[in-house]
Symmetry: C2
Subunit: 336 residues, 2 copies
DNA sequence: CTGTTAGCGCGTTCAA
DNA sequence: TTGAACGCGCTAACAG
């Protein structure tokens, strides 16, 4: 398997063209403080860099430094979609302000030791990964290799640095809104399948807030199909059923929205409906779906901050990082 | 900025533990053909690898080899969403079958020379990137550095290897369906803003197919707002206006769908509506939106195949790769 | 002041 | 089965 036009220009090529040594090239290119290189020399080097299109090989740099400026984020398996997408974009930007490069690893399937080995090969400074892809020993492998591991989980893990993403607060935000509107019988739609865990966490927040207010709440399981949505809608509309429903996210909200409409229920009069994640979908429905929004910018901020703390902390500090990911904000539209 | 537990285990560590030389470790770990290492030795090495959690440093390997097994894909700027997401997942899988690792670069903003330099630093074997982020000279920089560049564009570029993504075919598929249903006055919704280019390409396909069938077609600009959608709906419903509309994608379709409904139009009787990309949204609407689907698996196949051809082709072959990305398939639902 | 020499880091490969 | 050299950028020590 050969390659394009050939060998990349090296610092030696630049040095030759500029008539200086390789050290000088390094000093100029990295703008090393206290390096006494005369301006004319500097200019010659930069001109040569320009002419050759020289870009220092990160491999060589990393090999020498022992550790890279890379932050590796394996694509999360579960919640594909805009939230992840937007967060990645902002995180990438913020990290690059700290001289870090965010690389997203395309492999979504591997977990445990195999995954850890795959990530470790790249010797990233840090790995930012959802808890479901790591075991205790895979984290140990990475840390032994000099890579910090920051796990995204819904509660702090005793054996790893954790970025706590308290999904319960999403449900709490929905509950606060619905309770304030006078509802006393709430329900949470919990997706069946791989998203169930996340769904339960959000539903639990709703339940907790309801109990605290002396209101009633229940969980209703639902798959991402029209049939299942119809069944859920029927369950909601049974005599004595809930007057307000919180769905795992806006997609489930949209499905239930349609099912309720098909069954002749009007929103918010018969049933109030609140989704989550504030997806574009929410605004396309009629009546438009209220939704609990998480700000991707804020999430990216928290992530960036946590990663930097991890990389800057003194050698043996035992403290686990634990941060809450974002403040859920209710966007009220027409269904509540 | 220091790091985790320390230094990663090296081949020297493994060699020491197994009581062999570093060369032997290399031969065993890489399973080099024709290297006659006795089975007991082999076993000792592998045991040591296991015990230490050794993972060879890609940097060192890459430095030595001069080229990596990395395929870099900068996140596309424009069409965020599930299509991209699903394609990345499948592509990652297929590439790893060829021993290649897909890394997605989080930076979405940089273009031209700055971007090229950023990518070149990683010395990837190939870069897979949308045409709007590259200039002729930035591609030249990458190729000089030994990196193959595969551009995703809507038509072959004379100065780069191109993966042709003929967006026009999406519009053609919509037209074929609508013409077969007897429509003779078609319209295409073209998004205003950054998506305009893509939108025009899809609309052009509709126009071509309509002309070929002796039918009429027009383009209608629309922003992603309810106000603009209302204006577009009014334009559609004017006397003598189109009887069928193709929207850039399902999100624009959803917006127009709602606006048409608000204005009392029924679908498909008053107006037939077809979106694109087959997003989940399409199934949540009432009536459900017909949509032109592109198969992400097929797209990933094409991409993987093109990348492999690029990496395997003999040194100076001038041929440009040009492949069509996917066959659009119409999913008929209730609006057409 | 200005710039250079020498050697390191780690995995691979060829000759011995 | 191994010793030695290599690939490229960084930096401490050193010389003009």
């Amino acid at each position: 398997m050969n390659s394009a036009a050939g060998r990349a220009p090296t610092s030696a090529d630049v040095a030759r063209l500029a008539g200086v040594s390789r050290s000088t090239v390094s000093l100029v290119v990295n703008d090393v403080p206290n390096s006494r290189i005369a301006q004319p020399t500097r200019d010659r080097v930069l001109a040569a860099v320009q002419e050759l299109g020289y870009a220092p090989d990160v491999s060589a740099r990393q090999l020498r430094a022992g550790i890279s400026r890379l932050v590796l984020m394996p694509l999360p398996r579960l919640p594909r979609g805009m939230m992840v997408d937007a967060t990645i974009e902002h995180l990438s930007e913020k990290l690059s302000d700290s001289g870090l490069t965010l690389l997203v690893h395309g492999d979504r399937r591997s977990t445990g030791m195999a995954a850890a080995r795959m990530w470790a090969e790249l010797r990233p400074a840090a790995v930012l990964v959802a808890a479901d892809r790591c075991t205790k020993s895979s984290v140990a492998l990475l840390r032994r290799a000099g890579t910090e591991v920051l796990m995204i989980a819904d509660r702090p893990l005793p054996w790893a640095d954790t970025l706590e993403f308290d999904q319960g607060r999403v449900g709490e935000a929905a509950a606060a809104h619905l309770l304030a509107a006078g509802h006393r019988r709430l329900a949470a739609i919990v997706p069946a399948g791989p998203l169930e865990g996340l769904g339960r966490a959000r539903a639990a927040g709703l339940g907790t807030a309801a109990r605290a207010a002396g209101a009633h709440s229940e969980a209703i399981a639902m798959e991402a199909t029209h049939e299942s949505a119809a069944a859920a809608a029927a369950a909601v509309r049974r005599p004595g059923g809930p007057t307000a429903v919180f769905t795992y996210n806006d997609e489930y909200g949209a499905l239930l929205h349609r099912a309720l409409g098909d069954q002749g229920a009007t929103m918010p009069d018969d049933i109030a409906l609140v989704g989550a994640d504030n997806l574009p979908i929410a605004t396309y429905l009629r009546p438009a779906l209220s939704s609990v929004a998480l700000d991707p910018v804020e999430m990216a901020d928290h992530m960036c901050h946590a990663i930097r703390s991890l990389l800057e902390r003194p050698a043996r500090s035992e403290a686990l990082v634990a941060g809450v990911l974002a403040t859920p904000l209710l966007v009220r539209r027409e269904t509540s």
